[in-house]
């Protein structure tokens, strides 16, 4: 049986890959997907710790994180569509104005 610390380590590595994606890529869709990866790394930590303590609280929180991620994805993708419609770009470096 793999101990909880292994799962925590995997969660840390996945989170940092997500951070690297946000910092290194300029395509706004890839940045958004990296944010989803970070959310999932945190979910993994929640489930591993919830299993370590034998409670279901972590699973309930993962449920809420999924709901928030769904709402965030819908609104975020709406914003990306709207930006692309006005600016015709998905490069985060070229999106430097809050107005259009």
């Amino acid at each position: 049986m793999a101990p909880p610390s292994y799962f925590m380590g995997l969660s840390a590595i996945l989170f940092c890959i997500g951070v690297a994606g946000v910092l290194l890529r300029r395509n706004i869709i890839i940045i958004f997907m990296s944010i989803e990866l970070m959310l999932n790394a945190v979910n993994l930590a929640f489930v591993a710790l919830s299993r370590a303590w034998g409670s279901v609280d972590g699973q309930a929180i993962v449920f809420f994180v999924m709901t928030v991620a769904a709402a965030e994805a819908a609104v975020g993708l709406g914003i990306i569509l709207s930006i692309y419609r006005n600016r015709e770009t998905v490069n985060a470096d070229e999106i430097n104005l809050m107005r259009w």
Partner: protein, 174 residues
């Protein structure tokens, strides 16, 4: 979950996550992310959180990723030029990520002793009944607020994606 299975799944998820940030084509990145999410769902099931694991695969790897796929198709990103960006910024970003990963790993290696092993749990640990019992007792308020959040999300997404101008979108679809 036996140790060899964990190591295999961990390696698979790390490779797929690296593929997410290394692929040039957005659809390839998306497929790598879907693989990562499915592997994380399998890890959930291996940890005993069966319901959450299946929810992860259905809702996350299924529904939310399809939303991303539709947006990539709508934007027609195949024709995007390769992204440039300054090399110094990329170097700083890589350095920052490496520093963060080192810090988190040091933190994980010094976890308090009770976390070194898993507590024994009941046979129905990850069942829908146990999860729902928690959701509808301790987390009832948060659960109800979640429904309002989803409603606001739907309204916001529709308001954002709606075309406000009379003429269609430039370079758009039919």
């Amino acid at each position: 979950m036996p140790l060899w299975l964990f190591i295999f799944l961990a390696a698979l998820s790390i490779i797929a996550a690296a593929g997410l940030i290394l692929q040039r084509h957005p659809v390839h990145s998306l497929l790598a992310l879907v693989l990562t999410l499915i592997v994380i769902g399998i890890l959930f099931i291996g940890l005993g959180a069966t319901t959450v694991g299946f929810l992860q695969m259905i809702v996350y790897a299924g529904a939310i990723m399809i939303l991303f796929l539709f947006v990539i198709w709508l934007l027609n990103l195949q024709t995007q030029p390769l992204e440039g960006g300054r090399l110094a910024l990329k170097f700083l970003g890589a350095l920052g990520s490496a520093a963060l990963i080192a810090e988190l790993l040091v933190f994980v290696l010094h976890l308090p002793a009770p976390l070194g092993h898993n507590q024994p749990v009941a046979i129905d640990y990850g069942s829908i009944a146990r999860l729902a019992q928690g959701l509808f007792t301790s987390y009832l308020v948060a659960f109800e607020v979640t429904s309002i959040l989803l409603l606001v999300g739907v309204v916001g997404a529709v308001a954002l994606a709606r075309r406000t101008t009379a003429e269609g979108a430039p370079g758009g679809s039919p």
